[in-house]
Amino acid sequence: MLRKIIALLKKNFLIETSYKLSFLFNILSVFATILTYFFINKLFGHKISSHLETFGVNYFSYVLLSMAFFSYIGVGIGSFSARIRSEQMQGTLESLLLTPTKIGVLLMSMALWNLIFATLDVFIYIGLGIFLFKINFSAINIASTIVILILTIISFSSLGIISASFILIFKRGNPVGWIINTLEGLLGGVYFPVTVMPLPLQLIAKCFPITHAIRAMQLAVYKGYSIFQIKNELLFLIFFSLALIPFSLYSFKFALRRAREQGSLLQY
């Protein structure tokens, strides 16, 4: 099993590095995004400082961490469906499924690849934050941060697998990906604290795991909150993970069976 996971990771690495400019442009696009928010902060940052008192940071520090974290989540979610779609379009999904490889191994390798790739993105965000924009991360509670990351990865990977199930059947059109990237990005406190929004929207935001994940992450990184101090957010993420893992695995197996019934594994 381990050899197969390593082989899948190596294959993805070789394909990714065969696109030489892609990595450079990734860094540049992260830099451009950060710079945009740096200037937005200069222009309007002071106007929402009252909403950021809970976290004890200015708008730029808040948005940099949320965006790093959200890109982590977004990459995690999007990559399952992106990988499936890429295998469909390359025509290699059938060849892969012809090998005696368990679905769990395929999903595990995708999850690990997502993790490696997303971590790289986060390092770019945080590295630029520390060295270029002099953001202070010294208060970070490492234990809380790691727990939040693990729970977030599990729960959002489950969403990613559900999202990939849609791609297996419908090829394009992925409501889960849309909800997470668009709706959760808007309402989940990524670009501004949720307290900026009217009360009804704040209530809707509370239903999304990303709202709790981002709040917990901000508090753990900037205020050094312990696991106990963010227990409510963590409990929500645990509940979300426990509910979604079995459902996501079931949905993927169902989608695969449906695609095999339709004979559409190679279609895209």
Binding site: R3, K4, A7, L8, K10, K11, L14, I15, S18, Y19, Q90, G91, T92, E94, S95, L96, L97, L98, T99, P100, T101, K102, R257, R260, E261, Q262, G263, L265, L266
Partner: protein
């Protein structure tokens, strides 16, 4: 019964067209009439036999191969590979099957030929050492000196050769070949045909889907005429000749005669 590597019993498969946006807008959720890809197809295959599935494009040949190789699920019927039923023990079955697809897009084009084969060898459960020696063995057989080049730079013939090598990497007992010599020049296709014959002599059961009658005549001992998903005749060439009462009929004549009223 244990002699059979492959048993196919009353296999049927239909494909339903997807509902269009217009259908959904009109709340018309009824399935459209299906395309019948296979209807009650049955046959068996022993070790060392080459069975030619003959039929035109759209006859159901590729669907049949994909069902046997576990990629498509049948509506009805059974497929048994080495006493294991498709749909129940698929991962075990995959170790016994090698599929050479007619599809060119089944490799990672950004990787080299060798990287592709090493990857698939690992996925088939070969150790690094086994994979390396097996791949080297095939490179010598097929005189391959371009394995370090990226797959997207290969000609159709090169891609076909790699597809066959991949199908054989894990030494499967059942080899499924879908139009193996399509788009190949005379020299390459002759070489491939001789290689396939040698594989059968070594004991592999081979299922060859083709619409190339002379090639099938040269390669296969048994034939099955498939047309619109139905079997119109099966047996040796002599048995099929008897069926149409013609002692010297070619496979093309047999095919035309058997399907003329279809």
């Amino acid at each position: 019964m244990k002699d059979y590597v492959l048993q196919v019993e009353k296999l049927s498969k239909s494909f339903y067209p997807a509902l269009s946006f217009g259908d959904l807008a009109r709340f018309n959720f009824k399935n459209k009439p299906p395309t019948k890809a296979l209807t009650d197809v049955s046959f068996c295959l022993k070790k060392g036999e080459i069975l030619g599935i003959l039929g035109p494009n759209g006859a159901g040949k590729t669907t049949l191969l994909k069902i046997i190789s576990t990629l498509i699920l049948p509506d009805k019927g059974k497929v048994i590979v080495n006493n294991l039923e498709v749909g129940c023990e698929d991962n075990k079955i995959k170790s016994f099957i090698g599929l050479m697809s007619s599809e060119e897009r089944s490799f990672y084009w950004r990787l080299t030929g060798r990287q592709n084969l090493e990857f698939f060898a690992t996925m088939f459960g070969l150790s690094t050492q086994q994979a390396k020696s097996k791949i080297q063995e095939f490179f010598e057989i097929f005189k391959i000196n371009y394995a370090h080049k990226r797959f997207d730079s290969y000609s159709t013939g090169m891609k076909k050769t790699f597809s066959l090598i991949r199908a054989l990497l894990h030494n499967p007992e059942l080899l499924l070949l879908d139009e193996p010599t399509k788009s190949l020049d005379y020299h390459s296709s002759s070489y491939l045909i001789e290689f396939i014959k040698a594989q059968a002599k070594e004991g592999k059961a081979i299922l060859l889907a083709t619409h190339n009658m002379p090639e099938a005549e040269n390669l296969c001992g048994q034939f099955m005429i498939l047309h619109n998903g139905k079997v119109y005749g099966a047996g040796t060439q002599d048995e099929l000749r008897k069926k149409i009462n013609s002692h010297s009929a070619s496979l093309t004549d047999i095919y035309v005669k058997l399907t003329q009223n279809a």
